[in-house]
């Protein structure tokens, strides 16, 4: 049973179903469906006339593509240089010890978002929180809607 993904049609058309649109299509697909499932990847491969392994190989190469559904919230600790020299590693380690997944929060890291003056910083649901400590991050996360 082939699933249909009508929302994907505009981006496929914009790239005229050409192979070089793969990353753009994957980006859009993830935006629409939150993560890349095998049926979705198969659909994209067929639409772009690409072998399955090419699509999987490309999708798995890039950090931002995900193959499992995201948690309700995401907390990314910036581990860029400026944040590192200001203690990002220990901030990340401290947060890793907290049971964030039970609060519906996915913890991860991001390599420099280029707003280094706020180091050490975290990105929570695409909002940048500057000059954070473990305590401040935790208190902020507690206020997120569950």
């Amino acid at each position: 049973m082939a699933e249909s993904y009508p929302e994907l049609e505009p981006v496929l058309q914009r790239h005229e179903h050409r192979a070089d649109g793969l990353i753009e299509v994957l980006n859009r697909a993830q935006e629409l469906y939150r993560h890349l499932t095998p049926p979705l990847l198969r659909h994209i491969a067929r639409q772009l006339h690409l072998p399955f392994s090419r699509v999987q190989g490309t999708a798995s190469f890039y950090h931002l593509f995900r193959f499992s559904p995201p948690a309700r919230h995401r907390c990314l600790v910036c581990t860029g240089t400026a944040c590192h020299v200001k203690g990002a590693a220990s901030l990340l380690a401290a947060l890793q010890r907290e049971p964030l997944n039970t609060w519906g929060i996915e913890l991860g890291s991001v390599r420099c978002i280029g707003t280094c003056s706020g180091a050490p910083l975290v990105v929570v649901d695409q909002q940048v929180w500057n000059q954070q400590s473990c305590a401040s991050v935790l208190s902020g996360l507690r206020e997120l809607r569950p």
Binding site: L41, F52, S53, R54, V55, G57, S60, F61
Partner: protein, 238 residues
């Protein structure tokens, strides 16, 4: 035909201008070690075994893709290159789980031969013992990721010669692995034509015939060249 003359180690070679340094060395019967390179497939210069020194150039150049130049002076076996090749082989051995004694390709393995050639009797770097798996889902063949050196010959032969593109490389960096289809069991990938070319060109025991036991795999990459010649030129040399 435009000819270039160059000097490789102690040999003077004259060769067509569109040749690579590797071809020129072969012409002069100078053996440059290679691993990812296989005649008939596109060159990717990924294994770095064929790096050579060229006088007047600070950077080492991969012989498999470097075009010859008039008056070029190539050195293929300097102590620096020998040390580099040994380290490369050590890196490959420490990266996977290469247990020659139980391997299907034991005695007929390009990696093993290279290790002997570069004098690698042990690794100075620690083994990493990665947790990898074996895929025996295909009715005819098997894939042991423990023995894969990511040369991508299988990917290229399947794409460039057979045209099935069953294989690709998935993930990145140290997590790279050869994948079939949407990273499915090989046997579940309908694109596979069961032609066995990937097994034939695999330099190690990573790809093998099912049921092969220790020492039993004998690859013959030269068969690929014969096949391609027959296809392209309609000439057979049985």
């Amino acid at each position: 035909m435009n000819l270039y003359s160059l000097r490789i180690d102690d040999h003077d070679v004259a060769i067509a201008a569109d040749s690579t340094v590797l071809q020129a060395a072969q012409e002069a019967s100078i053996a440059i070690p290679t691993l990812c390179f296989l005649e008939g497939l596109s060159a990717v210069a990924a294994c770095r075994m064929c790096l050579v020194e060229v006088s007047g150039n600070d950077t080492l150049l991969p012989a498999c893709i470097t075009p010859v130049q008039e008056g070029m002076q190539v050195h293929t076996a300097t102590p620096r290159l020998q040390d580099i090749r040994r380290t490369l082989i050590e890196l490959l051995f420490t990266e996977g789980n290469h247990v020659c004694g139980i391997c299907v390709a034991n005695g007929h393995c390009e990696l093993q031969n290279l290790a002997v050639e570069v004098g690698m009797d042990h690794s100075r770097l620690p083994y990493r013992f990665p947790d990898r798996h074996v895929d025996l889902s295909h009715p005819l063949f098997g894939m042991d990721h423990n023995r894969c050196v990511l040369c991508t010959r299988c990917v290229r032969v399947c794409d460039e010669v057979e045209g099935a593109h069953v294989w690709d490389v998935g993930w990145r960096g140290e997590h790279c692995r050869i994948i079939a289809g949407l990273e499915e069991p090989w046997g579940a990938v309908e694109a596979c034509t069961h032609c066995g070319k990937c097994v034939e060109v695999c330099p190690t025991g990573a790809l093998f015939h099912r049921g092969d036991t220790t020492d039993e795999k004998h690859s013959d990459p030269a068969r690929l060249q014969a096949l391609m010649q027959a296809r392209q030129q309609q000439r057979w040399n049985p």
